[in-house]
Symmetry: C2
Subunit: 433 residues, 2 copies
């Protein structure tokens, strides 16, 4: 029986045209974050399962992570996210590293989920983290960088908003301001995280289930909704305005505004799935009404490095996945048309393969990407292959051409043919544009 030609379910093959797009996405990301002084790191796709048990969240570890026991009886996971790994790496060299540390990576991550639009079983995710800055400068830099990535891809500020919240403020709100106990406030946090995915009536019903009779009597649900529906810091109850976390949020909004990030908004209902966030969290939302959803986000997680038995390090970071980004750019018509890497296709006339090598080397040494048709078939078939591949130029090399040192160069887009020396060919084709 023939073998299956399909890739593993929920995962993608990247044919050259797909890979070219991915490289465009990755290289654009790399350029932006390196402008901000970030350096690339990487790590094995396999990690001890234990690494995720502490803080990744139960659902992900127990239901969505690829885990197995290796031939040496170790419990291994295919990484579902990069944050535990980068924390591990920083912890391992806690003393030697020089702070602030600015690191990024574009790892391949896996989750066992039901494949659907925007969610496959694997994706690639830009991870950016700054270690060693306790002040709001860290959040400011990381969020500015997220914004800069979006605008570098051609996005306008009306295409997305950056929603901000503070975990410290949420905790204070739920526990001190609204007087929920620890257990209630944990459950409410998880419930609020799903608030925009369920109906308003389902949400208030589930909130009601969590309340005590006294709280019901005191209309705690109304007080909660008043806070959650605030669309700016000014709309929060006045007694909250002096809380330290609110001051910090205000400072951050001010910094962002001063560097042109004008589409950041306060969203007190913003929680983030992971358990490790400790302070400011943010998410970037697509404003397209057809696709109005969270694209990516991050926040401050000061405690993670400390789990490895070393002093903790203040950290802010985010992750941006390629599938989500590509969907966004596609629906906003921001994906560019990309040309193949190959500049020139050589059509051989007669048995000139061996004699043409010198000319081929000359062009390659000069920096041209040159493929040739070495099938020995007729010239029209050779030319047709170049056209199908979308290559811009074809060059004809036969005995006569080699003798005279003059070759026919055909621009396959304009269909113009000219006679050129190799030096001229190199000059013309190098002007890629």
């Amino acid at each position: 029986m023939a073998l299956s030609k399909q890739p593993y379910k929920g995962a993608r093959d990247f044919y050259p045209e797909d890979k070219r797009l991915q490289k465009y996405l990755f290289n654009t990301m790399r350029n932006v974050v390196e402008r901000f002084g970030y350096e690339e790191y990487d790590a094995p796709i396999l990690e001890p399962l234990e690494l995720y048990k502490a803080k990744t969240g139960e659902e992900i570890v127990n239901e969505q992570t690829y885990t197995f026991t290796d031939r040496g009886d170790r419990q291994v996971a295919i990484r579902p996210e990069m944050t535990p790994t980068v924390s591990r790496m920083v912890a391992a060299k806690r003393q030697e590293l020089t702070y602030p540390l600015r690191w990024y990576s574009i790892p391949n991550l896996w989750r066992y989920e039901r494949p659907q639009r925007g969610r496959l079983r694997e994706h690639w995710q830009l991870n950016v983290d700054i270690f060693g800055v306790a002040g709001p400068e860290a959040e400011h830099e990381v969020i500015s960088m997220a914004d800069s990535i979006m605008t570098t891809f051609g996005a306008k500020h009306d295409m997305y908003t950056i929603r901000l919240n503070s975990r410290k403020l949420s905790d204070y709100l739920l526990q001190e301001h609204l007087k929920f106990d620890h257990e209630q406030s944990r459950s409410l946090t998880k419930l609020i995280d799903r608030m925009h995915k369920i109906s308003a009536s389902d949400f208030s019903e589930q909130v009601d289930d969590l309340l005590t009779d006294t709280q019901r009597h005191a209309k705690a649900d109304k007080a909660l909704m008043a806070v959650l529906n605030a669309t700016s810091i000014a709309e929060l109850p006045p007694e909250l305005h002096d809380h330290k976390s609110v001051e910090e949020l205000k400072k951050l909004f001010e910094l962002l505004k001063s560097s042109g990030v004008t589409n950041a908004v306060f969203d007190p209902s913003l929680m983030r799935g992971f358990d490790y966030y400790t302070d400011i969290v943010f998410e970037v939302f697509d404003t397209d009404p057809e696709n109005n959803r969270s694209m990516f986000g991050g926040g401050r997680y000061d405690g993670l490095v400390g789990l490895f038995g070393v002093d903790s390090v203040p950290t802010v970071g985010f992750g941006l996945g390629d599938v989500t980004l590509q969907n966004f750019l596609g629906s906003h018509k921001l994906l560019p048309a990309l040309r193949p890497e190959t500049d020139l296709w050589v059509v051989l006339i007669g048995a000139t393969y061996e004699r043409a090598q010198g000319v081929l080397n000359e062009m390659r040494d000069a920096g041209l990407n040159v493929a040739l048709d070495s099938t020995g078939r007729k010239t029209d078939k050779q030319l047709k292959a170049a056209l199908k591949k979308g290559i811009k130029y074809a060059l004809f090399i036969g005995e006569k051409e080699l003798e005279k040192g003059e070759y026919t160069l055909k621009n396959l887009e304009t269909v113009k043919e000219t006679k050129q020396s190799i030096d001229e060919v190199i000059k013309l084709v190098s002007e890629r544009a």
Copy 2:
């Protein structure tokens, strides 16, 4: 208990300095193969286990491949090699693709082995394949490209040899010339593959075990050794000189010589571990007596695409691993010193973080990679961080500097300080070299 800071056994963390080296290796490879018209593809790291059962070889599949059963009860493998994957992808679009097809990828591959020098449990491997060329032009191109990769990294021809053999010739030798039966010739192939890893006496003992009395009487072992010890085609017994596979080898040597690959030699004892090779095979050997071993290799495998229920496609390819390459370049002192990606470190004097943003943006927009010390600590500590990170330039930004538009730029290598406008800073730092 604190979590472990170690990566998974036999796998590597890439800190920024390690990743920088890896990027240098990958980008150099990419440049060379794209000059030859190759286009990058990629595929999921997980594949159905079945994909490897057909041709990868029993030892690798049963003892060395990472396999597990997923939550949907599928038997999955973490890919131990890329060749079955690329064959699957070509088969899936057999009719739509335009030949010759030149593809490359740099996948991460995993094998459960005892970690040792040059062999970890994971590595990254350049895979290059040409599909659709039946003639020796395919081998010539692929081997020339392997040579070009080596020389582009700075290797000289006396540092490595390229050994060539033909599976067709080996089969003919064993079965027709030396009259071994099918079973004997299979066992001998495997034994010859290990010939240089065991002692000469062990080898001849094991050969002897495979012979029949008649063969022993006819001194078949002597005849075998005479063939295996040939160091050139001329040294083969004369009756072999007319065999088609010898003609093909000769043609290939001629082509290689004509394009400057002068370090290719014939090695009749060269077999390759994988079962799928059908004709010419080659391996690149380090000539360093301390490290005299095979670094990488490849060959022709015309039958693999056909396993997926479509017409087969003539294919030649090779794989070059990053660990082996790095060891080679290291032992031959060919690894370059690489600078950090960050060009400039900004030292803030006083509380100028917010006001400095405009200048930072200006430098970044002009293409400089600029990091800043946003810790708020003393200037000498900020400067020390830049030195420790190996960054070439530091720029001091305080209130006074912002007012005058004149900044102190310090070259941390020459320790020279000059006063410059931002335009001048951009000009000076852009001359990276």
